[in-house]
C-alpha cells in the first residue's frame, strides 16, 4: 500500500480511475471542484476523457451518453448542481444506465454557504428524479479512505445493477485531508474487498428483462445489436410503449433488482449494540466519526451507549432499527431528514430524538451532554427543530 496524505477529492479521483472510469463530465462547484480538476489531470494520463459541461444537466447527460456508448462515466457536484441532475438521473434510472454521481453536501438550500458541510440531500438522493417507481443506491463515505473505497464500489454496483449510484459525501470528507492508503497491487486491491466490474455489452434482443436479476449486461449502442433505449416506458426490446402492463413490469424490475439483491449493497457499522445500549447514536458521513468517539468515551465512563453508522443509505436499512431503544439521530441539518426514516423504522416503543446543526460538526462534548440528558430523563436543552427558537 502507498500511504499518502491527501483529500477526499483526490481519493474519489483515484478510486474512479482504479475502477476504470474513462469519462468525467462536470461543472465546477465548491466543494467538489477539485474532483473535476483532479480528473482533468488524471483521466488523459490513462486514456480517458474529461469534459467541462455547460451545466450540470448537460454533465450527467454527457455521462449517460458516454455510458450507453460503453464508457464508464462519472460526474461530481454539490447541492445546487445535484438538483439539476433530476432530468438525466431519471433517464439513467429508467434506461438502466451505469453511471456514478458524487455529491459533496454543503449548506443549503440553494447556494447557501459554499465551504461548510451540510447533510441536506438525504431524501433528495433517494428521489433525485420525478415519477417514483424506482429504488436508488446511495453510499455515504465518512473518511478519505472510505471515499476511495466507496467510489470503487459505486462503479461496481452501477455495472452490476445497471443503475446510477450516488456517493453522498459532505464537504468535510471531500475537502478534508487525511491519511490515505492506496493499493499498489491487485492483491492489495482485492484485500480491501474491492472489485472492478468491466463493461459488458447486451447482445439483445431482450434488453429490458422483466426480472429482478442483476449482472444483466447494459445496453450499449454502436455494436449493431439493435439496441434501443429511451426515456419512455420500454418493452423488453426497449421500444416505447403506453401499455400499463409493460410499465408495471419495468417498475417491478427497477424496484426489485435493487431490494431483492440488497445484501450486495447494505453496509453499516454497529458499535456496542449487543451490550444493552440504553441509547443508540445514529448518523452517517463525517458526523458519524464524532459519534464513534462519543460512544467510545461514554463507554469509558460506564454509560450504556451504542452507535450505528450507515454506510449505505438507500435502500434504507430498516432492519438495523428493530431493537426497542432510545435513538439519537445526529445530522448536519436543522430540519431532520435521516431522523424521519429512523422514526419510521424504529421498533414500537422506541424513542427517537434528533440532534441537528448545519455548517459545523458536533463536538464529542456536545453529543455526550445530550446523551447524559437523555439518560437522566432531563428535557433536552435543544431538541433540533422542535424547540429551537431564535
Amino acid at each position: 500500500m502507498k500511504r499518502i496524505f491527501d483529500t477526499g477529492n483526490a481519493a474519489i479521483t483515484e478510486g474512479a480511475i482504479r475502477a476504470g472510469c474513462n469519462l468525467f463530465a462536470g461543472y465546477p462547484i465548491t466543494p467538489a471542484t477539485e474532483i473535476a480538476e483532479n480528473m482533468s489531470r488524471r483521466l488523459p494520463q490513462v486514456g480517458g476523457y474529461y469534459l467541462q459541461a455547460e451545466d450540470e444537466n448537460a454533465a450527467l447527460h454527457i455521462c449517460n451518453g458516454g455510458s450507453i456508448g460503453g464508457l464508464k462515466a462519472m460526474t461530481a457536484t454539490s447541492g445546487p448542481g445535484f438538483i439539476l441532475f433530476a432530468d438525466a438521473f431519471g433517464w439513467a434510472v429508467s434506461s438502466e444506465v451505469p453511471v456514478v454521481i458524487v455529491n459533496s453536501q454543503r449548506v443549503g438550500p440553494v447556494s447557501g454557504i459554499t465551504g461548510a458541510p451540510g447533510q441536506g440531500e438525504f431524501y433528495l438522493s433517494r428521489y433525485l428524479t420525478h415519477g417514483g417507481n424506482y429504488e436508488t443506491i446511495v453510499l455515504a463515505p465518512a473518511s478519505v479512505q472510505e471515499a476511495y473505497r466507496l467510489t470503487v464500489r459505486a462503479f461496481a454496483l452501477a455495472e452490476r445493477f445497471r443503475t446510477p449510484v450516488i456517493v453522498l459525501a459532505d464537504q468535510m470528507v471531500t475537502d478534508g485531508w487525511e491519511t490515505l492508503e492506496l493499493p499498489e497491487t491487485d492483491d492489495e486491491f482485492a484485500a480491501l474487498g474491492l472489485e472492478v466490474v468491466p463493461r459488458r455489452i447486451n447482445p439483445g434482443p431482450e434488453f429490458y428483462p422483466a426480472s429482478d436479476e442483476i449482472d444483466v449486461p447494459p445496453v450499449v449502442l454502436g455494436h449493431n445489436t439493435g439496441a434501443a433505449c429511451s426515456d419512455w416506458t420500454p418493452t423488453d426490446r426497449g421500444h416505447d410503449t403506453e401499455d400499463i402492463t409493460w410499465q408495471h413490469k419495468h417498475a417491478w424490475r427497477l424496484i426489485h433488482k435493487i431490494v431483492n439483491n440488497r445484501q450486495l449493497i447494505d453496509e453499516a457499522d454497529e458499535w456496542f449494540l449487543d451490550d444493552d445500549p440504553e441509547i443508540i447514536l445514529v448518523g452517517y458521513g463525517t458526523p458519524s466519526r464524532v459519534i464513534r468517539s462519543a460512544v467510545g468515551e461514554a463507554r469509558k465512563s460506564g454509560l450504556k451507549v451504542g452507535g450505528i453508522r450507515l454506510i449505505s443509505l438507500w435502500p434504507f436499512q430498516s432492519h438495523l432499527f428493530t431493537r426497542t431503544a432510545c435513538y439519537l439521530v445526529v445530522e448536519l441539518n436543522w430540519d431532520g431528514q435521516l431522523v424521519r426514516e429512523v422514526e419510521r423504522a424504529a421498533a414500537d416503543g422506541s424513542n427517537v430524538h434528533f440532534w441537528g446543526r448545519c455548517g459545523e460538526l458536533p463536538s464529542m462534548a456536545e453529543l455526550l451532554d445530550t446523551v447524559r440528558q437523555l439518560l437522566d430523563n432531563e428535557p433536552l436543552q435543544r431538541d433540533g427543530w422542535r424547540t429551537e427558537k431564535w
Binding site: R3, G115, G176, W177, T179, R292, S293, L361, S363, M364
Partner: protein, 177 residues
C-alpha cells in the same frame, strides 16, 4: 506513543492556514502516524475566514473535530475571538501580538511571537510568518521529528520557496519563547 493531539490554526485567507495544516499532516504521515485535517472557509476568495483542524494520532482517528486543542495558532482577531473558548490551561496559543491581543480572562498559555516582523526582517517577506509559527510549534511540541517536517515542506510547497521556508522553519525552531 501518542494517543491524540489536536491543533487548531485559524486566520484570514492568504495567511497560510491551510499550508501549515498540510505540512503538519504530511509530516505526520511521513512519520507513520495517522492524521486528519478539516478545512473550513467562509468565502471562495482571499481575505475570508479560514480554519484548519488538525488531529494527529498513532491510530485511526474517529472524530476529526478539534475540541481540546493542544495548540492554537491564532492569526486574526476574529479567529481568536471565535475559538479561544475551546482553549484551556493545557493549550498553547501562538499569536502575533500586533494582530491578536491576549484575553486576560483566558487561562490558556499565550505565546506572543512577532512572526511577520521576523519574516520581513530575516527573509524580506512577511509571507513566511506561517512557517515561523510552525517552527515554534514544532520546537515546543516535539511530537513530529523536524526532518519529517522539512521533508513535508519540500513535498507541499513550491520548489522556488523551499530554501526560504526551511530557513523560516529554523527561525521558528530557534525562537526563544
Amino acid at each position: 506513543m501518542v494517543a491524540r493531539i489536536e491543533i487548531l490554526i485559524s486566520g484570514f485567507g492568504g495567511q497560510g492556514v491551510v499550508r501549515i495544516g498540510q505540512i503538519l499532516g504530511q509530516a505526520a504521515v511521513n512519520q507513520g502516524l495517522y492524521t486528519t485535517m478539516l478545512i473550513s472557509h467562509g468565502t471562495e476568495t482571499r481575505g475570508g475566514y479560514v480554519r484548519s483542524q488538525v488531529v494527529i494520532s498513532d491510530a485511526f482517528i474517529d472524530s476529526p473535530v478539534v475540541e481540546n486543542p493542544a495548540y492554537f495558532c491564532a492569526f486574526s482577531p476574529i479567529a481568536y475571538g471565535m475559538f479561544k473558548h475551546l482553549c484551556n490551561r493545557q493549550t498553547v496559543i501562538l499569536h502575533n501580538p500586533n494582530l491578536v491581543t491576549a484575553d486576560p480572562a483566558s487561562d490558556a498559555c499565550h505565546r506572543a511571537i512577532a512572526g511577520e516582523t521576523l519574516a520581513e526582517r530575516e527573509l524580506g517577506n512577511a509571507q513566511y510568518a506561517n512557517v515561523i509559527y510552525l517552527g515554534v510549534l514544532s520546537a515546543h511540541c516535539g511530537l513530529l521529528v523536524p526532518e519529517h517536517i522539512v521533508t513535508a515542506i519540500r513535498q507541499r510547497l513550491p520548489e522556488r520557496s523551499h530554501e526560504n521556508n526551511i530557513r523560516a522553519f529554523e527561525l521558528g525552531r530557534e525562537y526563544t519563547l
